[in-house]
Amino acid sequence: MRLVACVNHVPDTETKVKIGADGKSIDRAGVNFVINPYDEFAVEECLRLKEKSGGEVIAVSLGGDPHKETLRKALAMGADKAVLLKDDSPRDSFSVARALADYLKELSPDIIFFGKQSIDSDDAAVGGMVAEMLGLPSASVVVGLELAGEKNAVAEREVEGGHEKVAVSLPAVFTAQKGLNEPRYPSLKGIMGAKGKPIEEKQPTPPQNKTEVRSMQKPHAKGAGKIVGTGAGAVSELVRMLHEEAKVI
């Protein structure tokens, strides 16, 4: 079985991002980049599927050289191969999906796993787009996956207020949600072993972006809190404000 995990290299959630001088992108200086947390679930799931049913796990990333760090992590966790679709330009979800789909078509995997979204631009679009471009079935926001023979799988999805199980035929595309699994730490042996596994570089030919970022803004700074008063006497005023001004009750 050929299992592909698509992984993105994104700013650490702890990083305080600054908007760059162009007002349209973030300032990368001093920002710590990590594997996209949802993609870590994707890698882990592929590794578990391989451990159960055999096959090979390939990690694929589109981006510049720094993405190799994330691919190395996937290799250290246990992926067999890594491929960098080398591309340094700013990309929207559509052109990323197109470039990945073109490459994945050639690779023809049985299972393609994404994270449900990248925490950098939060589009949550690439997985679904790739499935569409390849004409494959897909299940998104997956919290469980069982193979049913070689050609079918049942995915458990999170839906509003509950879970649902959907059956798909393989090959198929899945996007991982938190809760799917507990990603392993790469072991020290895995990290040393990953040094010997090559990262293959390919030149993708992505199309033009379909969207363009015009500007980026930080959220407004929080205003100071308001103390309505003290004691029971203040309660009615607080209720009035929550109702009429904040409109939350």
Binding site: N32, A76, S187, L188, K189, I191
Partner: protein
Amino acid sequence: MPKFQGVDYYNSDDLLSEDEILVRNTIREFVDENVIPIIEKHYREGTFPMDLIPKMAELGLFGSTLPEKYGCAGMNNVAYGLVMQELERGDSGLRSFASVQSGLVMYPIFAFGSEEQKDNWLPQLASGKAVGCFGLTEPDFGSNPGGMITRAEKVKDGYVLNGAKMWITNGTIADIAVVWAKLNGEIKGFLVEKGTKGYTAPEMTGKHSLRSSVTSELVFQDCRIPEQNILQKSGGLKSPLMCLTQARYGIAWGTIGSAMACYDTALRYAKSRIQFDKPIAAFQMTQEKLVYMLTEITKAQLLCVRLGRLKDQNKAKFTQISLAKRNNVHHALEIARMAREILGANGILDEYPVMRHSANLESVKTYEGTHEMHTLIIGEDITGIPAFV
């Protein structure tokens, strides 16, 4: 609490390779998720977190510089040091466990043991199925281990050990003890298995330091061990000292971890604690302390990377390792004490890690050669005059 982001004022990460950084970050994450949330409780109760042993083993933390054929990772010394740094950022007790298992038990078996001993013990120790301890210090012989009283006597089919060791990390929980004893006047290493008749390892109590580490006595009363349990290639005080060189190297790195935890805590506290209508970080005396901390951490980092590269080239002298152990522990302890001062009364609470690190570092300053002994080791090296007696 926000996630620890590292301290790197001199871009010393640029001196590390991609995989060294991945090793460091992996252990950092492991410690944040598995150690920091539980360690204060263990410290308070005076227990070692036993359930971390299989987790550390799975990561490959034990004997990680030894060859793969024994189930080890075959890492270089810089990566090993970074592991020690991150473990000790969690707690010195945890680093002590890993230091003893790797540098003081697996290393002597690897360096002085027979093929059968290596094949038998190294995979068990690497996988955490067996825990080891190292018995050198005795009640009356600490800085002067050459005077040890513990004796081994050759008998038919083996040896009989008599004597007592004290202050032995992991003693009570160890499946295998590397014990140093005099055989016909020469110091030799022996492997003593848990449960051997005549061998007991009661735990020492009453510690105000390294409380989340097990410290024990080892008592040998006509303890008979089989012939094949001698570390045949060991001989003289040099052998245990070679082990200590490994462990001291790990301490030099480890204490950077304690120091970083204390600095990070103090810096954040100083920026948020208001007195006289200002954050206390605005006072010159607080800034002076923070700058001292950062300066010493930066120097210690550079010292260790250089030392690690020398060690990887087999060029590190034991005196250079003494210099790094002596310097880094001393400053880590000063940093912990200063952090405690910056936190004021809060500094003594177990809500913050500084008092625990400070108390731990009091032991670290003494074990693996006291600060003074390392002074004398380096002093002898540069003057040619030994000043031990």
